[in-house]
Amino acid sequence: MPTTSHAKTNAGGKRRSAALEPYLLLAPAVLILAAFFAYPLLKGITLAFYHYVLFEPQNIYFAGLDNFKKIVADPNLPLILRNSVLWVALTVGLQFLLGFVLALALNKTFRGKNLYQSVVFLPWAVSGFLIGMMFKWMFNAQNGLINYWLVKAGIVAKGVPFLALPHVSIFPVIVAMVWYGVPFFGIMILAALQSIPHDIYESAEIDGAGSWTKLFKITIPYIKPTLIVTVLLRVIWVFNSADLIYIMTNGGPANSSDNLPSYILSQIFNTSDFGVASALGLLMLVLLTVYTVIFLYVTKYEDAGDI
């Protein structure tokens, strides 16, 4: 591959003469990923076409499209897909909005800023398990903090079992998920804000631009590439995320708060039908691929900078 910088090529030529070196350095990463990621992934895709139930080890056979037929016939599927969309849209939307406000608020020095950041970014480092538990406890009908406040404020007469109500139970999980994800957006957007050169703002001020003008005419256009990449990654991540649902409602009542991955988990853990679970996994993979392609096309990712 030709390079534009000849000076660099000459200076580094000696190092590159050892042609095997880059491959040797990468070998451990590539080998371990091949063995424990690529191979299982291929295996998972083939499993989707097999009848494979954990407790029937003598009864494993190639089943063609049987698993997919089962999925299509599954009366739960439309609900699960709707939930997945609701889950992603509401979670990422709120995380983005709040994360953006947080980043704007933090994009200026003040006393105790480091301490403040340590606290506010902490949810990012907490396990999904623990977050699920914390919020499950707060939404508890009898002893939960949230119901205590709602009763105190006179909004409800007595504690509401939010996590046990069909078609309601997904919302407390979304609240927990938003709490979880705001710091990530905050960190990403803050880093982008800090990359904006100050002189742009200064010249805008000389031209008489107010804060709002600066926000919409400079800040947002400038960090748009980061916003795009962050949202892209986040949608994928939230779509794939099942731990809070698993902990807080276990998809219940009656699958009404399941999204696609938590539904797959219930297939794996409860029915042990690995074939159907793998077929659902393949469906997820297809949906994600379609999403990514569309997203990159619509946002004209080439202009959005490289990773």
């Binding site: 424990f36 933090l106 538990m133 990359s195 980061t226 731990d243 853990f269």
Partner: protein, 280 residues
């Protein structure tokens, strides 16, 4: 003129209000878990909810440490997390150096594959890995978790490392070379010390990822002996009705390592990791 000035000051008011609200929003769940952990059983379940314990007690902590397997879970978590994070670190430094300092055939493909892994739902490999580990007799053993968490963390950490290396001028290495350092000396004495923030940030990333993982653990580990914290605590839930005092105490204790680490490296994470991972 007057209204314009007022409008321009509004962002400052909003800023202060927003900062305060975010602080409350973040702190309340932690606070509530902590307060629960220092209440007596009666007070936790009393119909009269108290925002601060009437009767302060460490009983939940003592109970969790003495009457459950929590200390074992904790030790398992530390072992799995530290070992897998160190492996991730070494592999990522090597691979990241390769990606940033050499031009070679297939480099772009490697980068694309690594980025692609970030998109693939890990749930797809849950079952195949389970089958693989069962054939390798690794189920119910910490090694299965160490391998899994290493694999999960390598792509992101390696890409991050590579972009950190890119920010260190090649000229530095060349100067060291001219001054008579060999490759290893250059690496150990010049490059890695400069990379310290990156190394710390990457380690923390791998650490939190492994420390917090749940589903692979549930899938691979059945016996008490190899349970990590989330899996062990998850068992508190399934067997009995949830003992919220124990759960809160265990939760707070499981948070301590992550909190210490996170506080120590917070400034690296904000300025470092993000700029490494995503160029604005």
């Amino acid at each position: 003129m007057m209204t314009k000035r007022l409008l321009d000051r509004l962002p400052e008011v909003f800023r202060a209000a927003a900062l305060l609200l975010f602080l409350l929003f973040t702190v309340v769940p932690f606070y509530w878990m902590f307060v629960t952990s220092i209440k007596t059983r009666q007070e936790i379940y009393s119909s009269e909810l108290t925002l601060w314990p009437k009767q302060f007690t460490w009983a939940n902590y003592v109970d969790t440490l003495h009457n459950t397997q929590f200390p074992l879970y904790f030790a398992n978590s530390v072992l799995v997390t530290v070992v897998s994070s160190l492996i991730v670190l070494v592999i990522s430094v090597m691979g990241g150096y390769s990606m940033s300092r050499y031009r070679f055939r297939g480099k772009k493909a490697v980068l694309l594959v690594f980025l692609g892994t970030q998109m693939i739902p890990t749930i797809i490999i849950l079952v195949p890995l389970f089958i693989l580990f069962s054939k390798m007799n690794m189920l119910d053993h910490l090694s299965s978790l160490i391998v899994t968490y290493t694999v999960m963390n390598i792509p992101f950490c390696l890409i991050t490392m590579s972009s950190f290396f890119q920010r260190i001028p090649v000229a530095l290495e060349e100067a060291a070379f001219i001054d008579g350092c060999n490759k290893w000396q250059t690496m150990l004495l010049i490059v890695l010390p400069l990379m310290l923030p990156a190394i710390v940030a990457t380690f923390v990333f791998a650490f939190t990822g492994a420390w917090n993982e749940l589903f692979f653990g549930i899938m691979f580990i059945n016996g008490e002996a190899a349970k990590t914290i989330p899996i062990g605590l998850n068992n508190f839930v399934q067997k009995f009705d949830i003992n919220w005092g124990q759960m809160s105490a265990g939760g707070i204790m499981s948070l301590i390592p992550v909190m210490i680490m996170f506080a120590a490296v917070q400034k690296y994470i904000v300025s470092g990791l993000t700029q490494g991972a995503v160029k604005g």
